[in-house]
Symmetry: C4
């Protein structure tokens, strides 16, 4: 919180160098930060194993993809062990009924493997002989270890602290007091309760300096940068006064600057007992010049409850500025 206030005092109309992006970043017309908050960035010069945090990958996958990945993993391991049991020989698995034929034996091996991996172990098929027993013993060990990862990940995904914010699709230039202000809106989309929410808006835009096109970064002062409870919708307001880097810029100038607004909202969620954070970004294409947001909450019919209308987060009407 304090930081933002300090920033407001210090950084008025002076570009900041601590955005974490460089002034020669090649963001010509494309985003530094994607709409979903990820970085528009690629890393090279290191092997994939050194460059990838599998934990991050598996947490970011969509739910469907995650289940597909896990199911493929389960199937592949079973196929692998089925082949091993086949390779050991026809007598290594003893079943209640004799099977013959490669296909039947492979099926038996495959299902024995899955029963071992999941530690179900019905026992109607059981390992016989030293080799098969050793392999089965290893497989059940491996099964427990891999299911530790898989089920741990499954739960980690489910319980991962997330802000569940919804941002307005557009950023508006609205009339504000006697002047104008940039406005965007955010709300908590779900049944979580966020407290001590803080917002930070950084802008990148292009200017011509000494004939060179360079990217400048500014932290935009907000009318209210911290609220006690993110109960209803929250409109972030950056006044376009003489302290703003956009002061006196016309609509055309704003669009030509190819500005990008990078927004971060942090808050405390007491069910996770943790700080959650969400980012998004806006480019000139998402800027509406001359509009204001309509209210997104209203009194319920019986007058006793407040209704927050999530489908109206981006609801605006055109006005002159």
């Amino acid at each position: 919180m304090r930081r933002y206030n300090m920033a407001r005092e210090r950084n008025n109309k002076r570009s900041i160098e601590n955005s974490g992006f460089g002034s020669n970043t090649s963001a010509e017309g494309r985003r530094l930060v994607n709409k979903d908050g990820t970085l528009n960035l690629r890393k090279t010069g290191a092997g994939i194993l050194e460059r990838i945090s599998w934990y991050h990958v598996l947490l970011r996958l969509s739910r469907a993809r995650f289940l597909v990945v896990v199911f493929c993993f389960y199937t592949v391991i079973n196929l692998l062990f089925a082949c091993i049991y086949l390779a050991i020989g026809p007598q290594c698995l003893k079943g209640s009924s004799e099977v013959s034929g490669l296909s039947a034996r492979f099926q038996q091996a495959f299902f024995f493997s899955s029963q071992t991996l999941t530690t179900v172990g019905y026992g109607h098929i059981s390992p016989d002989g030293l080799t098969a027993n050793v392999v089965a013993s290893l497989e059940s060990f491996m099964g427990i270890m891999s299911f530790a990862l898989v089920t741990g990940l499954f739960f980690a995904r489910f319980s991962r602290p997330r802000a569940y914010l919804v941002f307005s699709h557009n950023v508006l230039v609205s009339p504000y007091k006697t002047g104008k202000a940039l406005m965007l809106r955010v709300a908590s989309q779900r049944n979580n309760h966020l407290t001590d929410a803080e917002a930070q808006v950084t802008t990148a835009f292009h200017v011509i300096e000494n004939g060179q096109r360079v990217t400048k970064f500014y932290q935009l002062p907000l009318e209210i940068a911290q609220i006690n409870s993110l109960a209803l919708s929250w409109t972030l307001v950056h006044v376009l006064d003489e302290e703003s880097p956009f002061y006196n810029m016309s609509e055309q100038a704003l669009r030509d600057s190819r500005l990008e607004l990078m927004v971060t909202v942090k808050a405390f969620d007491d069910h996770y007992s943790n700080t959650v954070q969400q980012r998004t970004s806006y480019t000139a294409e998402e800027l509406i010049y001359g509009a204001r947001f309509n209210p997104a909450f209203r009194r319920s019919e019986d007058g006793g409850t407040t209704l927050l209308e999530l489908d109206k987060i981006n609801d605006y009407e055109r006005v002159a500025v």
Copy 2:
């Protein structure tokens, strides 16, 4: 901590706009925050899947309801798989004893399913044939994955960082020094030790502005807003002096304003090694005008220990103010 001090300096008798509630919130005589700290708010305009965080729902359920939900889930999955095994045909499950009749076969299928789902796998019933084996293999896989969620949730509920605070049921207007003060009391109810506790009290009340009834929000300065250790009971004291939004308001005026106090206490619990937080709210109905709290702790009989009497947290006596 610091924040509250700043607030004290800045916000004296000026309403705040960062409460997270709007000034036209329709809280006519009802609460913004319920007694248990949840918001009196409904969200609309988004499908239930986008609006619900199941993790939050399952963490907030009462223990009994959670167990019922989990048990129903377990039963439904078993019923579903029992039907699948029945559909595959009478030969798909091989038991030590032959069963006939739909009811007996359904029972066998149901219990086989539960043995598979929990990975007990006695084996006196075992899958036979390709289809049954595939289904059983999927079921045990699904069983492990769902039990990862269920047992993870069960433990997450049990170990969830919670403040375990008990608040006085009433908020009092008590004599304080040469004037009056709003007082409410809080204590740690359980065998946890909270340190660096911070309290924040925000009030909402109705005033008539330009003939319109609007809701104003104020952060109430507290005599002590942070304590090193929440060992005993802690009385939050808001002095009703000229810096208070309630300065010189009579009992009737206070009640007419339909005030609501929203209280948040945050602290560090070193067994969770985490910040915990609890909220509550008070409305005019819970205001006692002219009373003071009786002490809630005393010396033990042997003189060596302090006793904190939790049933006296709301113990007050009437006094003139």
Copy 3:
């Protein structure tokens, strides 16, 4: 950090009211905080279920006691279910060998129960009939749920963020610069690396005010209250100058005041990626007047490594002050 500096400026020689203890706390000659950092406090006036956080209890138990509790729980559940299986009747469990006699049947039931609870499910004993199957199905469900708690707790205990600090047993009054200072020493005892360590020392002592014996609390300013890395031993130094509540108090006066020092050290452990905290307290009995600590670290024989000698944390020698 900042907080302590503020405190230093503000609280010089003024008692604090935000210690969390009351000025009439009945700590006559006994501790407010025990040597191991727990509170010398008992809570009454609420049922045990409302007063106990089982999670805290089970995390604080010694390792041996925890294992005993868990083992008893396992045995009791098995005994319970063994009785249920016995009650259902002699035919409810089908084994590879027939057993008769109550003792043999009870054994069979008990072991079947344990095989079900742990989901081993060998299958040489299996449930027969509807009732037994339903009970076994419930037991395996219950087994998974309870083992989720038990193994979760076991791991939570093992991985619980802890500071692993060792404090000097005594607090010394040592010569310091041209005057005297209270000194106590702390070190990280284990192979964890703590950074950004902060210390806070609060004192409680008795004074006679208006003929009444009351307890006063002071936060003691420290020469260094925060260090970047708790690599070696750290001596906390409170100078007994005119800013100290103990200024000009003789040894006898200090002892008569029945002072208690409550010490809290917080730090960041990057293996837990969490803040850890440990407390202790010192009473007048642990005060050594006129002594100074000997160094607790030295150069290794080969000159290349620093040795921290944990057994010398309380190593002091008598000196005149």
Copy 4:
């Protein structure tokens, strides 16, 4: 953040005493902090059980070593229980086929043990008699408890919050504005996104005071000590002006001082929703006097994305200073 600013104001050219290291630390030509961020420190004077946090040990082990340790643990437990079953007698395990001979019986006992420990429990071998059943019941209980630790650890290792930073191998003395500056570079190596990154550089170096060689510690002010997003590479710049402890020191003087730079970078990772931290250190051997870093990021061929070249983090060219 604030802390560093305060330090900048206060500590200019004054050594700090809160580095956590002592001024007589025996770091003669060797490091206080190793290149990988661990301390060059040994603890003595306490038994290994009091000195070791097994959790930290098992988290720090390399992946290969961890798997070896776990596998050995699994094998040893199985061997142990195999011996117990052997000791109970030949009839204690009943298999589908009779086995004789010590080796065959040991194998049977070993595999039965592994099936019990992992709770697979095929049941083709099953315990017979009171003693064997009791032991098997204990083993399955122990199995669940130990696998709770092992799989918990396995997942904790996998999901442990880590910064995944890569530091430049060298620290440079580069031309900067009209003077010189110490520069080192850091980047996030993997697909994690770090925000609110803070850096802290502490130096230790040797000076002659009163004819004695002592180690002095200074916190080095940085041009930018905090950035909003650690998206690209970040060059930490310490200007060698009159506020620097290295002001006007020649290359030879710097090398003779046997300086060591200890660098800590902290940031917030929103996938872990946690603060992550990484340390490293530089000694005089890693100092390049007269060089500057080449850019480590550039525009992608299609112009739309930024490429961060991790292999160029330490890429520098010689320049005169």
